[in-house]
Symmetry: C2
Subunit: 218 residues, 2 copies
DNA sequence: ATACTTTACTTTACGGTGTTAAGTAAGTCA
DNA sequence: TGACTTACTTAACACCGTAAAGTAAAGTAT
C-alpha cells in the first residue's frame, strides 16, 4: 500500500508539473504572438487583444487568464524590448575604456537600439512611456537598470574630473535627452535617414567636448 | 417685375450667405469642442468622435459632413497647436538681438510651449507626429514655417561665423533634438519637473558655447 | 469506480469605438 | 404647388476591451 501511495503521488506531481509547463508554454506563445503582431501592426493603435487571441487560436477572454489586461500584455511585450535595450547599453559601457568613451558608446548603443527597433522604441519612450516608469512589478529594476548604466558612467566621469561640475541628474537627463531627441526625430518625422541620425549624434557628442562655437564669444 | 426679381435675388444671396455662415459656424463649434475635449481627455486614446458629437449636440455622423474622418478632425485640432507654436518660436526669434541669442530664445520658447501644452505637444511630436509631416493641405506651410524660423536663425548664425562649420541641416536637427528630448522626457516620464527641465535646457545651451569638459582632453 | 471539485477554456453580453448607407424633414427654387 | 437640394438623423456593420456565466474535461478523494 505504501508503494501504491507513492506512485500515486509521483503521478500527481508529474501531472502538476506538466500542467504548469503547458501553462507557461501558452503564456509564452501568447507573448510571442503579441510581440509579432505588435511589430507587424506597427504600433499601439493597431494592436488588439482579439487579434492576438485569433493568432494563437484561443478565444479572446483566454488571454485574461494569462495577462491582467491589454496594458499588462503590452507591458510584457515592451519588457522584452527593455531587456535588449539594457543589454545594448551595458555592452556600450563595457566596450569603453575611459569614462568619456563609455558615455559616447552608451549613446551610440542607445541610438542603434532606437534605429533598429523603432516600433518598440515608440511604445517604450514615446507613446505610452508613462507605463514604463510606474509599477512593472518584478521587471521594474530592469527598466531602471538601463538608466543605471548611464548614471554609473556619468558618475565615473564626474568623479574622475572629466566633466564640469553640474549635478549628476542633470547630466543623465541631458545625455538621455540628446540621444532621445535624435531617435525620436528620426522615427517620427521620417525626415532623417538612420545615417544622418548617426552623423547628427556624432556632432552632438563632439560638441560636448568642444562646444559649437567657431570662435570665442565676448 | 424687374424689382421683384432683384429682391428675390437679394434674398437668395442673403440666404446663401447665411447658410454658409451657419456652416462655418458649426464647423468652428465642432473644432472648438474637439480642442476642449482633446485637452481635457488628455490625449489621443481618450478622444472620440462620438463624444465631440455629443458635446456639440449633433449625431456622430454629422461630424463627417464637416471633417473627413477622425484623423482629419484631430489634424485640425493639432493645427491650432502649431499656430501657437509657430508664433512662440517667432516671438523668440524676434526678441533676440544677436544670432546666438536668437537661437537660445527660440529654444526657450520651444521648451515653454512643450511645458505649457503637453497634450498638444504629445500629439504633435510624439504620438502621431507622422501626421504632421505629410499632407496638411493648406496648412502645411505653417507647420514647416515653425521650423523655418529655427532654420533662419541657424543660417544667420552660421553666415556670421558664430558656429563651427557643420551643415545647416545638422544644426537644425541637433538643436531641435536637444530641446525635444528635454520636453519629451518631462512630459512622458514625469521624472522631471518643469523647473528642472528649464535648468537642464540652460545647461544644454551653455554646453553649446563651452562644451561640458572640466579640462581639455588629450 | 463513482462522486465531487478544480482547471482551462468558451459563450454570451455590455458598452464603447470609427465609419458607411439609407432615410427624413425642412428649406430652396422653378 | 411640386420637384430638388440641403442638413441632419437613424440604423447598421465591424471592430474593440472586458466582465460574468456557462461548460466540458481533468484531477482527486472515497
Amino acid at each position: 500500500m505504501n508503494q501504491v501511495v507513492t506512485r500515486q503521488k509521483r503521478t500527481q506531481q508529474k501531472s502538476l508539473e506538466r500542467r504548469e509547463q503547458q501553462k507557461t508554454d501558452l503564456r509564452a506563445l501568447i507573448l510571442q504572438a503579441a510581440v509579432r503582431l505588435f511589430e507587424a501592426g506597427g504600433g499601439y493603435e493597431q494592436f488588439s487583444l482579439r487579434q492576438v487571441a485569433e493568432e494563437v487560436g484561443y478565444s479572446p477572454t483566454t488571454i485574461y487568464l494569462y495577462f491582467k489586461d491589454k496594458d499588462d500584455l503590452l507591458l510584457h511585450v515592451v519588457f522584452e524590448g527593455f531587456r535588449e535595450f539594457g543589454q545594448m547599453l551595458q555592452a556600450g559601457y563595457d566596450a569603453g575604456t575611459t569614462p568619456l568613451e563609455r558615455l559616447r558608446l552608451i549613446g551610440q548603443a542607445y541610438l542603434e537600439f532606437g534605429l533598429s527597433h523603432p516600433v518598440h522604441y515608440r511604445l517604450m519612450f514615446m507613446q505610452r512611456s508613462e507605463m514604463m516608469f510606474q509599477k512593472l512589478e518584478g521587471h521594474l529594476h530592469t527598466v531602471v537598470d538601463s538608466f543605471a548604466v548611464l548614471q554609473a558612467a556619468v558618475h565615473e566621469a564626474l568623479e574622475q574630473g572629466f566633466l564640469a561640475p553640474y549635478p549628476l541628474e542633470v547630466y543623465t537627463a541631458l545625455l538621455w535627452a540628446d540621444v532621445h531627441g535624435i531617435v525620436a526625430l528620426q522615427i517620427s518625422t521620417g525626415q532623417i535617414t538612420p545615417e544622418q541620425a548617426r552623423a547628427i549624434n556624432d556632432v552632438s557628442w563632439a560638441r560636448n567636448l568642444t562646444g559649437l562655437l567657431a570662435r570665442p564669444q565676448p
